[in-house]
C-alpha cells in the first residue's frame, strides 16, 4: 500500500520524467550527456577563441595605437586597405605563396603515399623518417634553411657551384626577386608535404583491396589502377587535406618572417608578415587586425566547403 508521501514522490518523478521527455523532444535525445561532453569544448572556444576574436573584430574597426584607447572609425581601415598598393601586393603574394605551395605539396604527398604503400623494406621506418619535417619545430627549420640558403657560406650554393658544377656562380636565393618567393615556398613545401603524404597513405589503406583486384582482373596496369581506383578513392581526403593546408599555409608567418621578413623589396611580403609589420613596426593595431581579417570571407568560404566535404565523409 503506497503511503501518500510515496505517491507524491512517484507522481513527482513521473512529472519529472514527462518534463525530461518533453525537454528531450526539444533539446534532442541525448541532451544531458551531449551538453556535458561538449561543455569543456564550448568553454574553451568561448573563452580562448570567441572572446579574443570578437575583440579583434572590434579593434579592426577602430584607430588603435599601442597603449592608447581605441577610437571608433567603422569600416575606415578596410576601405583604406582596399586602395593601398602595398596591401594589394601582399594579397597577391599570399595567393602565390599559398597556391604554389599547396599544389606542390599535393603532388609530393601523393608520391610519398604511393612509395610508402609499395612493397619496400623497412616501410614503417621510412614513414617515420619522412615525417621529420612536419614534426620539427618551424623556428628551427626556418633558421636552418636561412643558413642553407646563405649566399657565401650556405651549403646550397656550395653544392651547386663547387660539387655539382651546375652554376658558374652562387645565387642569392633569398635576395633575388626571381628566386626569393620560390625559396620561401620551397621551405613551406618541405615542411608541409609529409602531412599530405601520411594522410593519403591512411586514405589508401581505407580503399578496399577488392577494388584493386577487380581492376587487375580487368587487365588494368599500374597507371590505370592509380587513376581508376586510387585517385577516386582518395577524392574526399584529397579535398579535405588540401583545404586544411590552404588555411594553414595562408596563415603561415614564421617561415617568411625568419627567411626574408617580406623582402627583397616586398617580393615575399605575405599577409601575416604585413600584419605583423603594421602591428609592431607601425604600432597601428586596429589596422593590423583589419589586414588579418580582410581575407576572412575568402577563408570562410574555404571552411564552408571543407565542412561540407567533412560531413559527406562522415555519412559514408
Amino acid at each position: 500500500m503506497a503511503t501518500p508521501a510515496a505517491r507524491l514522490r512517484a507522481s513527482a518523478s513521473l512529472s519529472r520524467a514527462t518534463l525530461d521527455l518533453s525537454l528531450a523532444r526539444v533539446l534532442g535525445r541525448d541532451y544531458r550527456l551531449g551538453y556535458l561532453f561538449v561543455l569543456p569544448m564550448a568553454i574553451l572556444v568561448l573563452a580562448l577563441v570567441a572572446y579574443p576574436f570578437g575583440y579583434a573584430i572590434y579593434l579592426s574597426m577602430t584607430r588603435k595605437y599601442v597603449g592608447v584607447a581605441p577610437v571608433w572609425v567603422g569600416l575606415d581601415n578596410y576601405v583604406r586597405l582596399t586602395g593601398d598598393g602595398f596591401f594589394r601586393r601582399a594579397v597577391a603574394n599570399s595567393f602565390v605563396f599559398t597556391f604554389g605551395s599547396v599544389a606542390v605539396k599535393l603532388v609530393l604527398g601523393i608520391a610519398m603515399a604511393l612509395v610508402l604503400s609499395a612493397r619496400i623494406r623497412g616501410r614503417s621506418f621510412w614513414t617515420g623518417v619522412l615525417l621529420i619535417p612536419w614534426v620539427a619545430p618551424t623556428v628551427v627549420s626556418a633558421l636552418n634553411f636561412l643558413w642553407i640558403y646563405d649566399y657565401s657560406l650556405g651549403v646550397l650554393n656550395y653544392l651547386l657551384v663547387r660539387v655539382l658544377r651546375l652554376l658558374p656562380q652562387g645565387v642569392g636565393w633569398l635576395s633575388e626577386p626571381g628566386t626569393a618567393m620560390a625559396s620561401v615556398i620551397a621551405v613551406n613545401i618541405w615542411r608541409g608535404f609529409p602531412f599530405f603524404g601520411i594522410s593519403f597513405l591512411a586514405g589508401m589503406k581505407a580503399i578496399p583491396a577488392e577494388l584493386y583486384e577487380a581492376a587487375a582482373v580487368d587487365g588494368a596496369g599500374a597507371f590505370q589502377r592509380f587513376f581508376s581506383v586510387t585517385l577516386p578513392g582518395l577524392r574526399n581526403i584529397l579535398i579535405i587535406v588540401t583545404l586544411l593546408s590552404t588555411i594553414w599555409t595562408f596563415n603561415d608567418f614564421q617561415i617568411v618572417y625568419i627567411l626574408t621578413k617580406g623582402g627583397p623589396g616586398g617580393a615575399t611580403q605575405v599577409l601575416p608578415v604585413f600584419t605583423y609589420e603594421i602591428a609592431f613596426g607601425a604600432q597601428r593595431l586596429g589596422e593590423a587586425i583589419a589586414v588579418a581579417l580582410y581575407m576572412l570571407p575568402a577563408l570562410a568560404a574555404v571552411i564552408i566547403v571543407l565542412a561540407r566535404y567533412m560531413r559527406r565523409g562522415q555519412r559514408t
Binding site: 646563405d150 636565393w173 635576395s175 627583397p264 607601425a282 597601428r284
Partner: protein, 452 residues
Amino acid sequence: MDRRLRDLADQLDAGLIARREFLRRAVVLTGGTAAGLAVLRRRASAQPKTKLRVWLFKSFVTAGNDVVARQIEAWAKERNVEVETDWATFGDREQKFVAAIEAGNPPDMAEMNLYGPMRYKAALRDATKIATDVASAKGGLLPFAERAMKLDGKFLAVARYSMTTVFFIRKDIMEAKGLKPPKVYDPDVVEFARKTQDPSKDLWGFGQTLNRSDDGDGFMSNILWDYGGGVWDKDGKPALGTTFLKQNAAALQFAVDTIQKHKIQPPGVMGWTDPSNNEAYMAGKLVTTNNGASLYYAMVSKKHELAANTLLVLTPGGPAGSFVGSSCYNWAIFQKTKHAELCEDLIRWVEDEKRFTEYLQVSVGQAGPVYKARVDNPYWKSDPNYDAIIQNILRCVNIGYPGPMTPAAAEVQGQKVLTDMAGRVVVGGLSAEAALKEAHARVEEIYKMRRT
C-alpha cells in the same frame, strides 16, 4: 620549533610583544639567543619581498649582459628586493612590449632602444626629474641624446649609451694596394672597392644591404642626408618626395648604383638581413662594410684573425657632408609601476660611473657616450679604432633631421619605408623619382595619423 617559542612568535606576529621582548623571553625559554634570532631571520625572509620586473636588451656583447645582470643582482640584495629580469633581442622586443602594454601587464621598467620612448610614450612615466638628476651629475647630456629623450619639454627616458655605426675596412687589403680610407661614397668608396675587389675569388669591395633591416634602413637615412636631402624638412614636415626630391633622387640612385651599375656589392646583398654582412665580413668576403660595434666585438672577443686587420673609420659622406644617424639606449619607467622610486634607484645604481665603467670595459666600443663627462673616459684611447666610434657619436644626428625627432619619424623608421623604397627600385624596377613619390605618400599618411 619549540611549542612555547612558537606561541611566543605568534604573540610577536599579533603585535602583542615587541621584538626585544620576544628575544628576551626566547632566551629564557631556550637558554640562548640563537634560536630566537633564527626565528626572527626566518620571518624576515618569509616576508613577501617587493618584486620588480625589469626588461633588458639582450646585447650581442654577452660579457656586458653578464655585468648588468650582476649589478642588478647586487642591487636587489642590497635593497632586499626581488628582481625578475627578462632579456629580449632586436627581433622579439616589440611584440613583447606591445602585448604586455595592451594586456595591461608591462614590466616596471625597461631598457629601450632609440625609438622605444617615442613608440611607447603613452605607457611611460614622466622621467624628467631622474633624467635631469642623472645628466647633471655627468656634465649634461650630449645634444643629440637630449633631443632623443625629450618630447614637448619632458624626458621620456634616461639615456644610457649610444651604439653607433662605423665604416669597416680590411686594413691588410687596403695597405697592399697602397690606398687610403675613403672620405665620400662617390667616387671614393666606389673606386676603393673596384681596386680592391676580386669577384672571381668572391671578394667584394663593399657590402651594404638595402633590404628591410636595421642596417639597410640606417644606411638609407644617412645617404639621403649625405646628399642634402632627408625624409623631413626643418619644421618636421614630410619632404621625401617634394622639397628634397632632387637630392633624395641622387642619393637613392647612388645606393642602387652600388649594386647595379658599379657592381661593387656581392650578388646576394639585396636579401641580406642584419647578421649577413657580419658573417660575410668575418668570412673574408668583404673589403668594406657599414656596421655597429657588434662586428668588431664578435671578432675581438673570438680572437678572429681579421680583428687585427680591421680598420674602423668615420662613415663616408656625400656632397652635403657626412652624416650618421644616432643611437641612444635608455631606461624607461612604465606608468603602471607601483615602485617608481625603486626603479629610479636602480637607474642611479647602474648609471653610477664606477659601475658603468665596468660595463664599458667589456663592451668593445659598443657603449658609446651619451653624457659629456663620459666622452673623456680613458677607455676610448685604449684602441685606435675607438676614435672613429667617438667621432661618429659626437657628430651624429637624430631621425627627423633636419627637423625634430618625432613619433612620426620613429614610425617611418619602424615601418622601414626607406628600404622598401630602395627595394622598389632594385627589385620592382621603378625609377628613383617614382619610388620616392610612392614612399612620400606613405610618409604623408604616417605624418597625418601620428599628428592626431
